[in-house]
Amino acid sequence: MENLLEIRNLKVIFVQGNSVISAVDGVDLDIGKDEVVVLAGESGSGKTITALSITKVLPKSAKIVSGSANFNGRDLLQLGEESLLNFRGKEIAYIFQEPTSFLNPVYSIGNQIIEAIMLHQNKSKKQAREEALDLLNLVKMAQPQRVLLDYPHQLSGGMNQRAFMAMALACKPHLLIADEPTTSLDVTIEAEILRLLTDLKRKLGFSLLFITHNLSIAKRIADRVYVMYKGKIVEEAGREQIFNSPQHFHTKELISAYEKIGRI
């Protein structure tokens, strides 16, 4: 399979005053075209920082020390801020953990989706508004007409996550990075969102990098699984293989963690 994204030897550190903390320590990661890759690991293992490094939307205290991220043959880590704006949202889009706090409280859902559309496409406001409605229908939002005018605080977490997905998909990205998008939602909504994601992937044909600490999700959607521990990739395998014969102790921990919960 041809690779859409190839990350090689990525190293990210946090600088705070005089102390330097290594967050990502030499990560190699491939995402194929049309592939679902799950990046799993405990909190603080560097999964999110790895994902944010791809388009350099890191917090200010984080620094990329070395590495490359080849996306369609271009190394994103060598690009300046100006050229990266053409990738963010257009080629590579993100959805995040807490949908409600990732939406701007002073704008309606409609206006935020319209902004996402108009940032990268030459469309009139009227066209964008119609497209926003289509997008809300695409993510199976209930009462899309009304939601266009609603503000984030008026919607539930699940609805906000759908709205945010509509925003992320506004420019038909080739790679969608989902950073624990279901962690803050309850299990029934989680199942719905996961089903929606796989449906959308089939319809629109993007690659998906799914970040989670919950390997049961990987069992449902993944083609391939990476396990991250203390800033390093400790195991990489296909779905079947990782559940049938986990090698690293952290993978075993993650598997037994959800199996234990399953038994309760």
């Binding site: 801020e81 963010r88 889009a93 995040f96 990732f102 409280p105 704008y107």
Partner: protein
């Protein structure tokens, strides 16, 4: 809508209407001198009496409202715009830019504003236009600091990260996402600032370095009343009252806004 906001808006609305329709409302020409009616106490013909040149006090105060309110609004407008620009740049970019702007703010704050304005007005001529600009240019430091602190906390919020992730430029993030979220406290501060600017203009006019006669402003009506205070109390009382009530109105409004906007 809370009470203090309502009262504030009411007071300011009344004064604004008076200022806008000054020409239609005022019973006399504000600079028309009538030698036969010097220092007349309030009566039917002249509701608030006349001054030492026989000019109708009510008409002069109505035109004065126009001058005082315009100066307040425009001066604060200038101060708030400068504050918004410098404060958001400083808060958003941090580092050297932040140090540069904030130290400049510190330097500006070292000068006692009133005497700085006095010095500048003494060099330039004290026209209404100059006074508005000078008050504006010497009172942007408060808004700048306020906006900086708002931006500092807002820029760490998740939705700003989300904006970066969908490819919004820094300019876009500052002007369409950070500033609209920070506007509440800025508005409260600006309302209070208008009151301050009106008071400052009155003070300047009182010292003869503000609006120049015969153009009436509340401040320069007050100074003209000084010499006749013993015989004509009304020339001192009414402009003073007008200043007091207007400032009270703006204070009420800012108090009310603060409650609403948190």
């Amino acid at each position: 809508m809370n009470k203090s906001l309502l009262v504030g808006i009411l007071i300011i609305a009344i004064f604004s209407i008076i200022a806008i329709f000054a020409q239609a409302i005022s019973p006399y020409d504000p600079s028309q001198i009538d030698a036969s009616k010097l220092l007349m106490p309030p009566s039917k013909g002249h509701l608030l009496g006349t001054d030492s040149l026989g000019r109708d006090l009510l008409s002069r105060m109505i035109y004065g409202a126009r001058i005082s309110l315009t100066i307040g609004l425009i001066a604060v407008g200038i101060a708030t715009i400068i504050g918004l620009i410098l404060g958001s740049l400083s808060g958003f970019y941090g580092g050297f830019m932040d140090t540069l702007i904030m130290r400049f703010v510190d330097i500006m704050l070292c000068f006692p504003t009133f005497f700085l304005i006095l010095a500048v007005v003494a060099i330039l001529e004290p026209s209404i236009f100059n006074i508005m600009i000078i008050i504006g240019l010497t009172s942007w430091m408060g808004p700048a600091r306020l906006i900086r602190s708002e931006i500092l906390s807002l820029k760490e919020r998740e939705f700003i990260q989300a904006e970066r992730a969908i490819g919004a430029s820094n300019f876009r993030i500052i002007s369409f996402h950070l500033i609209p979220n920070a506007i509440g406290p800025v508005l409260v501060n600006a309302t209070l600032g208008i009151a301050g600017a009106i008071l400052l203009e009155s003070g300047l006019s009182f010292l003869g370095l503000g609006v120049q006669p015969p153009t009436p402003s509340w401040g320069n009506i007050l100074i003209e009343s000084k010499s006749t205070l013993g015989v004509a109390w009304w020339i001192t009382l009414f402009p003073g009252l007008a200043i007091l009530v207007t400032i009270l109105g703006f204070n009420f409004m800012s108090e009310g806004l603060k409650k609403i906007l948190g």
